[in-house]
Amino acid sequence: MRFIEAIRSALGAIMTNTLRSLLTMLGIVIGVAAVIAMVAIGAGARNLVDSQIRSLGANLAIVTPGNVTQGGARLGAGAASSLTDDDAQAMRREVDGVVAAAPFVQGLTQVVSGGSNWATRIYGIDLDWFDAREWDVASGRGFDAEEIRRGDIVVILGETVARNLFGEEDPIDRTVRVRNVPFRVIGVMAPKGQSAFGQDQDDVIFVPLDAGRRRVIGRNYARDGSVGSIFVKFANEEDIEPGIALMTDLLRQRHRITGDQENDFSIRNLTEIANTATASANTLSLLLAAVAAVSLLVGGIGIMNIMLVSVTERTREIGLRLAVGARPRDILSQFLIEATTLSTIGGMIGVGLGVGAAYFVASLAGWPSLVSMNAVLVAVGFSAMVGIFFGFYPAQRAARLDPIEALRRD
């Protein structure tokens, strides 16, 4: 009997008992649907976290003042910062692989334009910042070297701030007041979206480092030339680890820290944090695979059970088929194909439901749904294998029936 015909006849047998067949498939359907959905949702979430962490910029390390103890960073604790412009310049100069070292200060402030008024985050930055963060202005221009050197009172607005203060109007060359200091708007940043922690990254304004230090957030940076933190960007991912070691030595030397004295700064590898997040997402995927295996196993046992029932119910049919010339192996393949068709249809329904669920969740959460073709193929392939594996014993029982006894059974 040719394969297509065998499948057609299997479909006929499955359809005579539609409800029972559907119930039998349910285990596989649910298992596959859960896996497809969870893998897709997991991939979507991972992708989001990943891209957001990486949206800080690739191959980035951050140097912060104070010591990080056991995961808790004492950022902006109010004490005078131990880091300075000169530290940044020294790193840029002396550490191999560093392409940008961007010192910055930050704070919260009100921005006023005419009648509008907006609370936002302010960064005082230097020329390296936009390189380090791989972020560009969308309209107007960035700071030039002179503006940075002199600490001019010019400002670049984040997209959210521009929209809230000026609406549809062009903010370029308009004036905004920050702490009563009139800043001239020279540019608006390209939108960057939400951060991994749900923050609006476009709710921000940038001013030259010195302008920020002196005019806006000066209190915390009493010591001349001190900065909040320093972003350090490396040319390649491989440069980061040795670079961090060099930077540590350099800063200890510059800060005159000797022997077993603690560092008064800490350096974190942001690329590594992203990698760690990806790795834990991978662990989650493995867990999902285990759940999938268990549900497919349960589904398979359900199929085996119903196939055994089916063989018993159709003993007479088997006897008749043998009498008209079916060989044992014809009977074997008939029931094997039936079990496999059952489980494969279950798998395909499961894929359908899973993809649906993934898109639904993705649209709710607002991230791209990543249904991988691989996961779909693996799921359908696995369901088929479950059918073959768990259908084999019942099929073999059918094939071993004695024709006379089978015909006599009712």
Partner: protein, 238 residues
């Protein structure tokens, strides 16, 4: 050479309750074109004999050849092949597959003969024509009368052009008028050259055969030629 040749054919069942000799040294030749009625009391071994002749069962000892093939030497696949090509079965309970229509039921033996769909269809329709059931091709067994179901079963039995038609109590579940029609059909097929072996309790049925073999306690006790009662052609064709 006879179509069926049995020599010392023996079938013994070993049960916990003891040994049952169902068939004991049967020597029988059935010629091509014979219409043989097998009769005898219940438990005399008729069905056992039919199962052996039909290659559904294997003898405990003795020799059986069908159309020159030594059957006891064949494996399961060889037996299946013989059943498929050389033998057509008709059962008392029809044994049609309930979920298939008449046409699909008739096609079944051809599936295992590896015949493609188109030719199967053609030949099944032709076989249904021969038993006078073309208009019921799309009906399922449940939608047919007993006589019609048995006609479908006969169509299925002859669709692979077997040399031998085996029928164990084919009229046992039918009323006498319908039984008569079925017997007429067998006589017609027999006239066209098919060898028919028919098991029955019923002497009236047995009279339709040209040769009568009587079993008792697993042995042949009578083997005689007779003039068959012929069913009028019109009735058979009806």
């Amino acid at each position: 050479m006879a179509l069926i040749e049995t020599r010392g054919l023996r079938r013994v069942y070993n049960l916990d309750a003891g040994r049952v000799v169902a068939l004991d040294h049967v020597d029988l030749d059935v010629e091509n074109g014979d219409f043989l009625a097998v009769m005898g009391p219940s438990g005399s071994g008729k069905s056992t004999f039919m199962n052996l002749v039909g290659c559904l069962d294997r003898p405990t000892s003795g020799h059986y050849s069908l159309g020159g093939t030594t059957v006891e030497r064949l494996d399961a696949n060889g037996l299946a092949h013989l059943r498929n090509r050389e033998i057509g079965f008709v059962f008392q309970q029809f044994n049609l597959l309930p979920r298939l229509d008449a046409l699909a039921n008739v096609e079944l033996p051809m599936i295992y003969a590896g015949i493609d769909r188109k030719h199967r269809r053609e030949r099944a329709i032709h076989a249904l024509e021969r038993v006078g059931l073309t208009d019921r091709a799309r009906h399922r067994p449940m939608q047919l009368s007993g006589g019609q179901q048995q006609r479908v079963a006969i169509a299925r039995a002859l669709v692979n052009n077997p040399s031998l038609l085996l029928a164990d109590e084919p009229t046992g579940a039918l009323d006498s008028k319908t039984a008569e029609e079925i017997l007429g059909l067998f006589q017609e097929l027999n006239r066209e050259g098919t060898t028919v072996v028919l098991v029955t309790h019923d002497a009236d049925v047995g009279r339709h055969a040209g040769r009568l073999v009587r079993f008792k306690d697993g042995r042949v006790t009578e083997d005689s030629r007779q003039t068959p009662v012929l069913v009028p052609l019109a009735e058979a064709a009806e």
